[in-house]
Symmetry: none
Subunit: 205 residues, 2 copies
DNA sequence: CTTTTTGGTATACATTTGTTCACCTATAAT
DNA sequence: ATTATAGGTGAACAAATGTATACCAAAAAG
């Protein structure tokens, strides 16, 4: 990768910061204004240089500065589900708070979403309130899987057991009791395949 | 959050996907074109509706559709450390088993590595053998931080406490005892900022 | 049944943004 | 000494984009 001048680094940093905050890149004139460059063409030259050096991509049209992302491993954008609104499918846009990139080595090409844990029902399995669960979307589960179950439109995390004609959803918490439900009285939203604990910032996004 | 019509959901999904791919949002006309709406004002109405319902933000100017998002989609390659060989610096190439991409929202621009846990010394903190720790490289620690400490070239994960002239490394496991070491008889490799549990495959890469 | 919302067409216009060209200065490289 | 590179000014112009208005039809809400 070609090296950048001090000025070019500043410009690139500004573009990245701006894009991160606003969700769209700055216009040439906004870059100029920020750096007190009095002519748009002055700022344009810097952008052109950054494109030529491979740090940015460009297209015809207004405000089309794209950042060149270069990572080795493949990455998938995975939706992060906020509070699950009752009655609305868990993956509906209404529930999606944002998206995070995860390695495909974790997501494995399946339909994946991330859910933030509320409640202490799984503490004995190392899952605490505030942790993030990486969940693979599936409607069936195996004996003993940790699943996200929807009961009356409400999402809960429990360990799954079949028991004759009914299903036992067992919390991993000595102080809480298992729930026994008839098949059909609940839905499995998916299986928990990974837990992410944010010890410091507490938020994944 | 207000509910969306089917059409509005489609539009929102398109805007998110487009922004994710390109790094900047579509223009009103591009939205119209994608949905075969023959007039820009037709598409504009949908965007206006999404703004009014709180799903998007808007500003004067071209291509300024903002998603109310709180995440970054930038990615950093992070080294995964295998078994730590005694006497070799933890981040030396000899110890690196591979690399995984992680969101910068987790890595936060600091020097980061991932370490696989061996042993049960932190089970009461929800950290089990086989879990992966996201560790930020730093030599100092605060009272109560979970740290990766190097004692005699051996890496261990413990909770860190200062106590006068010595340091107490406390395992989060009722069956194990704290270790008391003199400052200088050990090194802090970093602070654990995140825990990733792979419930299914057991491997992160 | 009437009104509102939703989704759309068509046209015209205002605004923002990008682009080009000529010209200037300082610095580093050949 | 001369040439390229980096950084910049100023003005004029082209292209892309956003906005407003009028009008239409189906569906949902009252």
């Amino acid at each position: 990768m070609k090296t950048l001048t001090k000025r070019q680094s500043e410009i690139l940093r500004f573009i990245r910061k701006y894009s991160g905050i606003n969700g769209y890149p700055p216009s040439i004139r906004e870059i100029a204004k920020y750096f007190s460059i009095k002519s748009p063409s002055g700022a344009k030259k810097h952008v052109d240089a950054l494109v030529k050096k491979g740090y940015l991509s460009r297209r015809k049209g207004a405000r089309t500065i794209g950042e060149e992302r270069f990572y080795t491993d493949r990455v998938r954008m995975v939706p992060v589900i906020g509070r699950v609104a009752a009655g609305i499918p868990i993956l509906a846009v209404e529930n999606i708070m944002g998206e995070v990139p995860l390695p495909e080595s974790i997501t494995e090409g399946k339909e994946i979403f991330i859910l933030r844990v509320e409640g202490e029902s799984m503490v004995d399995a190392g899952i605490n309130s505030g942790d993030y669960l990486v969940v693979r979307r599936q409607e069936i589960a195996e004996q003993g899987d940790i699943v996200v179950a929807i009961i009356d439109g409400d999402a809960t995390v429990k360990r799954f057991f079949k028991k004759g004609n009914t299903v036992v959803l067992k919390p991993e918490n000595k102080n809480m009791n298992s729930i026994e439900v008839k098949r059909g009285d609940f839905l499995i939203a998916g299986k928990v395949i990974s837990v992410i604990k944010m010890l410091e910032s507490g938020r994944i996004l």
